[in-house]
Amino acid sequence: MQPPRTRNHTTWRLLLREVQMIAKDHSLLLTLLIAPLLYAFFYGSIYMNKAEEKVPLDIVDNDRTGLSRTYIQQINNMQMVQVNQFTNLETAMENMRTGKTQGFLMIEKNMERKVMSLQQSTVTLVVNAAKFLPSSDLMQAITTATLTVGAGVRLQYNLKQGYNNDIALQETQPANVDFHPLFNSGVNYGTFLLPGLLALILQQTLLIGLAGGTAAERQKHTFYDWLQVANGNYSLALWGKGLFYFVLFAVYGYFFMNVNYSVLNLDRMGSSFQLSILIALFILTLIPMAMWIGMLFKSQLLCTQMMAFSTYPIFLITGYTWPISELPKGLQLITALLPTTPFINVYTAIVQQNASMIERMPAVVHLCVLWLFYTVLCIWKMHRLAKAGSSSLIVLHEK
């Protein structure tokens, strides 16, 4: 056991060694110093407008009466819809095929006449459901417009029956549905995705950079030098090297949560203190995980290549875009081994729902367990590599 002063000195030497190593490796410089900031602004800007608007729609108006014009006007007034053109069925179909529109609305002939004579009239909305977001937004907007026009027709009928305005209005819609989307009042895609995206950028740049750097230690045969600087103390080797990444990514985390959130107009509802603790815990879990992954490779290039393909799979199974309960059981097990899963769970609850860490305690404990798990795994791998290295040195010496 080293005295604390020696330990601090060793940690400082390991930190400096890491800085020198990164400064000499432009791939690590790019991944660790430029990519996080560039990605955060670059990806973030895509969703800057938060939601889509003006989804193009053609109208096939076979009625051309006052009622059909009112209906179209109602649709046109909606922010979500942009009437592309009034056309015939063939052109509307062709426009949807060529991608000029996302669908079309067909109003049948004699709509007004039918409605006035208390007959139901059918309007047909055709959407290109190959694209989920525009088609579902179109359906929701047109359904709302249709219900509104329908309510207007009933109101006119009730007024004609001799009811006064108030009663007629009450009779029109006895049961209303009030929609309260909590924690993302605009139900915006951007508001939903951006917090997770920033967390993913923080994680992946750390994983790719640190795993690549650790693989480079093996590739450049500096692994034993690393252990030597740490006086053969694996834990010190891990946290001495990791200290640089902890500081760097904690700064990035702070930057993302303040500057990027502000630039992207994102609300950060929960406690900043708890968020800081959580991000620190997350980085502390990622560091041994990244080093362990890096030690599995003898080539920095191969490690970077493999890690590059981990981004989307990790993001898709952490429960952010698709509920974990809907994943096959085997994948749920893999999900549980990723620090992103409990982190995203608590992080989104804090920033978007004003929750506290106590309210998501199982996920916090999960993250702590993973921190311990990856620390043990990393130290075990270091020990194995050191043992393999010393046995091969003995063999070489004996030869």
Binding site: T122, T124, N176
Partner: protein
Amino acid sequence: MRNGLLYIILREWKRIFSRPDHYLVLIVLPPIIFFFYAFIYNKQKAEDLPVAIWDEDRTALSRQLMFMLEETPSMHITYQISSMTELEQLMREGKIFGAVHFPKRMEKQIKSRHPVNISVYTNASNLVPGKLVYADASKVLITAGSGVVLQKFVKTGMSPAKAMALVQPLKLNIQQLYNPNYNYQQYLVPGLVTVALQMMIIMVVVLAINTEWNEGTMLEILPKANYSAGNIVVGKTIAHLGVSWLNFILMVGVLFPYFNLTRDGSTFQLFILFNFLSLACIGIGMMISTLANDTMLAADVGLFYTSPAFVFSGFTFPRWAMPWYDQYYAQLMPYTAFLDGFFQVYFMGLPLHYAQPYILKLLLFIGVTFFVSVFFLHKRIQKIHAYATA
């Protein structure tokens, strides 16, 4: 010349199947990643999401509505709550995705012609479950509300047909083409697989030329290629194109049939379109590999260039909703052009001529990148050749 080209093709195949940085990415990873993506969405739709009921009415009507909500595919009532605080608490704890509130005296008020508001709460920070819960809840509640109006009109002596016409004067008939069931597996997996493929091709081809220089093996192939940059680039391109065909077969011949993702469109037309994407990706990789001698730098450029392709392509979030500069940037990636054509040929089953504008864009990528690759490689070879003959 023909022998030289054949030599380069065969040699490149040998490299692909013997170098871990090639075969792991092009041969081992594709089946793992493709099946992984497909398994994620194997349930195809999110179902039985936990929701809470806040029933202050406690009447036959509210019980009937609860029963109807439980019958919907997306909702499963897991909590009975009694306050807004409890509702928000359960959402914060991640225990529910939504809740429905029946107000006090709901049934009584409806019967006495007083309008009531039934509230649907969703956790909109979880977009997919939130939207599903809202869609199903509003469908049930609007239908129930319409039923109330219908009964009232019928009670006044109106015929059911006329009453129905008043309840719903405009009947909205929605036709969802090309993925009527909103099946997530059918929607996302083909896109994720093709975006992974373009990434795999570029991430490996960025090593095609520079590794030859760095490892000193370029001198080995130069005489065989007759010192022609064109021969080297074409030979390596054919070899990588051949490997991309293996992955195409894996995609349409194994993955799609296994997970029932095969569509009506012609596989041959999809193959043609896929070849344009492969060639554009090979061209980009070849250009990076010619210009960047450092393999790690080339890999980093490849990674930086390919990884945002999915989000910029407009697959999940439409390009028209992005700021103008991102819309332009999206055009700098071949996957964007491919995706537009892929939607038409694969998802919509349309003839290939619909994808013509996108094929032209891909041809532009192919023309520019191959020209730059051959030009710079030729200059470098000329220098070496001049030095050797001197």
